[in-house]
């Protein structure tokens, strides 16, 4: 390999934090004009190596070269000068400014009088957008843009600052299918212009589509770097998980005994979304909710849990109408919600594992109004054990935990309430495939114990493994409810679960796509 064509050449990178060896002699080489996937479970070292590339951390040993130039100063500023741009999950745009103002923030065009020249900025921005064939109005307010458009804006902003290495960390998590297509189209154009792209994602279907090569990390070591053609899905999973049994498709689908209706929705409507949802979840049943971003899945969960107002319709629990005006009513009725946004809605990050774990059941771990610290410790210990949560101690703040373990704390917090009805909104968001399988196993186990579960997920294979039925939402309405069995193809032998799952996924995706009429995307946001 000609070293000059390497955009990024990291060699022998080691890094430790306290007693934890985060990276051991890791090599990462990215060519100019390639999309390179970086894969690995939680704690594999992905974010550490990216932070070193981005100048946030200084490596203990090893060298970093960017386009042949050795980096000798580790700071975000130096990395930016070297042409590296991180596109974060949390968007760094300012919502109250327009697109052009954001693109040229801190390097505003000036008039002869030294005043900010917004017209000039808009012209220059629209040149960039045209060059990259991105259809966004530079005068639009960022607050009015959808998640996909914001991400494209962010990328264009980086390119306008002469970025030659783009790092995208889980770029597709908040995007709808069509926004993902637009993102991929842009990435392919940038690749053609010689930009090197590092693509981090937990979604292997996407990686298989977009990347040319992949580097897989596990436990701080590089396992392999190979072209995607040499990395079929099962092999990727094997490398990531480190053992053969890890894939979701390997999970046995057990049908639990479905009992009487436990949770019934009748024409449930919120302010704008959802609209007229009628759905019944029985004891022992997991009902999935599929649909694109903005289809009203999370809005439905919020209405059911009493966070957003119920405008019309009725919610029945065990046949009795339930008045749920606030989350406390829902919790008292035996319902819990694992919310979509872990850091915003699920956790109080600076507080301890124990505080977070018992927040939803404070009254149950207290004698009248005095918190019983022993009960808190015991309740926490029980969940830490059940869910195998890795935390230094119960007293450590949740912010010190990895993303997957944080998610487990949110789940444990609601398991402690011993609910009958569980609303799960993206319960496996941002956690590695091993933990994912654990969470799904837990969901099945809960169903086996007679709970009613409503599970929202953007990952179709997850829904297919976990659910008995799958409801598809589109534009706030329930468009169809599918039995899981109906998605299986009879021609694929049961002995080949991998192909079986893939086929079912294609089938489900096709049904979801059916509900989208051309041009309906714009109104979805």
């Amino acid at each position: 390999m000609n070293p000059v064509s390497l955009a990024v050449d990291m060699r022998g990178i080691s890094k430790h934090f306290g007693g934890v060896q985060a990276l051991v002699e890791v090599d990462l080489q990215i060519e100019a004009g390639e999309i390179h996937a970086l894969l690995g479970g939680n704690g594999a070292g992905k974010s550490t190596i990216l932070k070193i590339l981005n100048g946030v951390h200084v490596p203990d040993t090893g060298t970093v070269k960017v386009f042949g130039q050795t980096i000798d100063e580790y700071s975000p500023e130096a990395s930016r000068r070297a042409g590296i741009a991180m596109i974060y999950q949390e968007m760094s745009l300012i919502p109250s400014l327009n697109v052009a103002q954001n693109v040229f923030l801190t390097r505003e065009a000036k008039t002869r009088l030294g005043l900010v020249d917004d017209r000039m900025a808009e012209r220059k921005a629209s040149e960039f957008f045209q060059m990259l064939e991105v259809d966004i109005d530079p005068r639009a307010l960022v607050a009015d843009l959808g998640a996909g458009q914001r991400q494209l804006t962010e990328i264009v902003k980086a390119i306008s600052q002469n970025a030659r290495v783009l790092v995208l960390d889980e770029p597709s998590t908040t995007l709808s299918v069509s926004d993902v297509e637009k993102l991929f189209a842009l990435l392919h154009r940038l690749r053609a212009q010689g930009v090197a792209i590092v693509y981090v994602s937990h979604r292997m279907d996407e990686i298989a589509r977009v990347a040319e090569r992949a580097t897989i990390l596990r436990d701080g070591r590089r396992i392999t770097t190979a072209p995607m053609s040499e990395l079929p899905m099962e092999l990727m999973i094997e490398h990531i998980v480190g053992k053969r049994s890890g894939g979701l498709s390997a999970m046995e689908r057990k049908k639990s005994k479905v009992g009487e209706p436990l949770f019934e929705l009748e024409r449930v409507s919120g302010v704008r979304k959802p609209k007229g949802i009628t759905l019944t979840v029985h004891r022992g049943e997991v009902v999935g909710i599929a649909g694109l971003l903005g289809s009203g899945r999370s809005s439905l969960a919020r209405v059911l849990f009493g966070i957003d107002p119920l405008i019309e319709g009725e919610i029945r629990i065990e046949g009795c109408p339930a008045a749920i005006a606030k989350p406390k009513n829902a919790i008292d009725a035996g319902m819990v919600l694992v919310p979509e946004l872990r850091a915003l809605q699920g956790l109080i990050l600076p507080h301890s594992v124990a505080s977070n774990m018992t927040l939803g059941v404070l009254d149950r771990v207290s004698n009248r109004w005095i918190v019983n610290r022993r009960a808190v410790r015991q309740a926490t210990a029980a969940q830490v054990r059940n869910l195998d949560i890795k935390a230094a101690s119960q007293a450590h703040s949740v912010s010190t935990l990895s993303g997957g373990n944080q998610q487990k704390v949110v789940i444990g917090k609601w398991m402690a309430a011993d609910p009958n009805i569980l609303l799960l909104d993206e319960p496996t968001a941002g956690i590695d495939i091993g933990s994912k399988a654990e969470v799904i196993r837990l969901i099945r186990e809960l169903a086996g114990r007679g709970k009613a579960i409503l599970m929202i997920s953007s990952e179709l294979n997850e829904l297919l493994v976990a659910c008995d039925r799958i409801a598809v939402m589109s534009k706030g309405r329930l468009s169809r409810v599918l039995d899981r069995e109906d998605l299986d193809r009879s021609e694929i032998p049961a002995a080949d679960p991998v192909r079986g799952l893939q086929a079912a996924e294609q089938e489900l995706l096709a049904r979801i796509q059916l509900d989208l009429t051309p041009g309906s995307e714009a109104s979805v946001h």
Partner: protein, 323 residues
């Protein structure tokens, strides 16, 4: 990321005391300043028990208000009206004692606190005006009402029992004010650390959305916290009135700054989610200590203001976590 230990859970690791020295800077600072004054001002009577008890007398009202302010700040709100409410209450209590005796006076004081708290609470949690603005406006209103009903004159209190009980008296050499401070401090510490209410206050300030998703009625938490704060301010006003045998609108003027400074010095977050009542009391005592020492040093008032401001900035700057 935060390394400070989280509310309600004991410290497990022996090393965390060292790691969290910034969090404990208030205690270290208190000792350093105390020793410094004890050495340099020994010949001016700093260590004289009467002087030390005087510091307690001058600090008690600030401490009482700061204990409640710890809850307010922990919940992510602020109460700027405490000083003015203390002044107003001193006037209403004095007038009520004059009209109907001690019991009536105490009731009037409590009623003043509740009325202001409900007003602040409704505007903040129901109308949705930020507490910064609600209580800023209340500061002016309370002061205006106090000036108006008292005709800007001092209202004398001629009731030895009241004066003894609320601030003037002492048991042996120990001032009654010290008992008030310790009683409320113990109650405040227990409530913040051990009660479900305290947990809900900290959760609301730590992440209001997550608290709401956990079934906590965050508006009710904030409402109650603002009432607690006004009640504490009313009590401080009653203590001022008892100690000075009169109610005046100027009492407590400007105290809100010392109160907030005491809480923040003690380690309570201005942005919510973390608070410590013990730290707050030590913070209040430290401010009293500094005032006393600077006076004994013979500094002019202008110099005292500058020195006090400098010391507070230094202490808060040292206690900030570095990123």
């Amino acid at each position: 990321m935060s390394t400070r230990n989280s509310p309600g859970t004991p410290v497990w690791h022996p090393r965390s005391l060292m790691a969290n020295w910034r969090q404990n800077i208030i205690y270290i600072g208190f000792v350093i300043i105390f020793v410094f004054f004890a050495v340099t001002l020994n010949d001016k009577g700093f260590l004289n028990p009467n002087n030390l008890l005087n510091i307690v007398r001058q600090t008690a009202m600030i401490a009482v208000m700061a204990i409640a302010m710890t809850f307010v700040l922990s919940s992510g709100e602020i109460d700027l009206s405490v000083g003015a409410v203390a002044g107003l209450t001193s006037v209403t209590v004095a007038m009520a004692i004059d009209a109907g005796g001690m019991a009536f006076g105490i009731c009037a004081g409590i009623a003043t606190g509740i009325a202001v708290g409900v007003f602040n609470g409704i505007l903040t949690t129901r109308v949705g005006i930020p507490s910064f603005l609600t209580t800023l406006a209340m500061m002016g209103i309370a002061k205006g009402v106090a000036m108006w009903i008292s005709d800007t004159a001092a209202v004398p209190i001629i009731n030895p029992t009241y004066s003894w009980l609320f601030g003037g008296g002492s048991v042996g050499k120990i001032p009654v004010l010290l008992f008030w401070m310790l009683l409320l401090g113990a109650a405040g510490h227990f409530f913040l650390k051990r009660s479900t209410f305290g947990r809900r206050v900290l959760a609301t300030g730590g992440n209001e959305t997550a608290a709401r998703y956990s079934g906590i009625d965050t508006r009710s938490v904030k409402f109650r916290v603002l009432i607690v704060s006004s009640m504490a301010a009313a009590l401080a006003g009653m203590l001022y009135a008892g100690r000075l045998h009169s109610g005046r609108f100027q009492l407590g003027e400007g105290d809100e700054l010392s109160v907030i400074a005491a809480a923040v010095l003690g380690g309570t977050s201005l942005f919510g989610g973390y608070g410590t009542v013990i730290g707050t009391i030590v913070g209040a005592l430290m401010i009293g200590l500094i005032n006393n020492g600077l006076i004994l040093m013979g500094l002019e008032f202008s110099q005292q203001l500058i020195a006090r401001g400098g010391i507070i900035i230094l202490a808060v700057a040292l206690s900030q976590k570095r990123n």
